[in-house]
């Protein structure tokens, strides 16, 4: 069974600083997607960044980037130049690519606190 582990229940960062959120996963599949979702307080969860496992290049979206280590099954999220609006719950998620099932498998989440 696929599992996703986020070992940091809570992280803190100051504005303009950089923070890295950790995620590891377990799967026997070779092709899959990995995602980071952000859920601001009392708001909808939105997709931050997506990585296809077959791509060696790490995905980047503006201030958000990932460090994808396929052999180590690690998928960390780096937020650069942190802003107050980055404060949220962050969920790492996995989805296999070549099966008939499209469900996402999530970790337990990391709460990111951003201070001025």
């Amino acid at each position: 069974a696929q599992t996703v582990t986020q070992s940091q229940p809570e992280m803190s960062v100051q504005e303009a600083e950089t923070v890295t959120l950790s995620c590891t996963y377990d799967t026997s599949e070779s092709d899959y997607y990995l995602f980071w979702y952000k859920q601001p307080p009392s708001r909808q969860m939105i997709l931050v960044i997506r990585q296809e496992a077959y791509k060696q290049q790490n995905a980047t979206e503006n201030r958000f980037s990932v460090n994808f280590q396929k052999a180590a099954k690690s998928f960390s999220l780096k937020i650069s130049d942190s802003q107050l609006g980055d404060a949220a719950m962050y969920f790492c998620a996995y989805r296999p690519m070549n099966t008939g099932f499209q469900k996402l498998v999530f970790g337990t989440g990391t709460r990111l606190l951003v201070s001025p």
Binding site: V4, Y37, S42, R43, Q44, M45, I46, L47, R50, F91, A93, G100, F101, Q102, K103, L104, V105, F106, G107, T108, G109
Partner: protein, 113 residues
């Protein structure tokens, strides 16, 4: 364009009562998913509809949960009778096409006392 909407935003019921949660997906999205997050734990998949058909219901915890999607538009998730362990946040998501990005609703917080 309206996003995924869920109703109610919060429901408090007593053990043994019935509750029905509703999800309205983004217009045109054939795929609809239900997930649940029990406090402090991971978000877990419950089931997946393609139009009005259940594609995957492997995550449904037991037969106290009944999901429907009549007409392939909105979906309801009924819990009857509710138990204390059913408390949590129920999320709905929809996507266009099987591999499209899943867009999430704000969730319904269910508290069973």
């Amino acid at each position: 364009e309206a996003g995924v909407t869920q109703f109610p935003s919060h429901s408090v019921i007593e053990k043994g009562q019935t509750v029905t949660l509703r999800c309205d997906p983004i217009s045109g999205h054939d795929n609809l998913y239900w997930y649940r997050r029990v406090m402090g734990k991971e978000i877990k998949f419950l089931l997946h509809f393609v139009k009005e058909s259940k594609q995957d219901e492997s995550g449904m915890p037991n037969n106290r949960f009944l999901a429907e999607r009549t007409g392939g538009t909105y979906s309801t998730l009924k819990v009857q009778p509710a138990e204390l362990e059913d408390s949590g946040v129920y999320f709905c998501a929809s996507s266009q096409g099987l591999w499209g990005e899943q867009y999430f609703g704000p969730g319904t917080r269910l508290t069973v006392t």
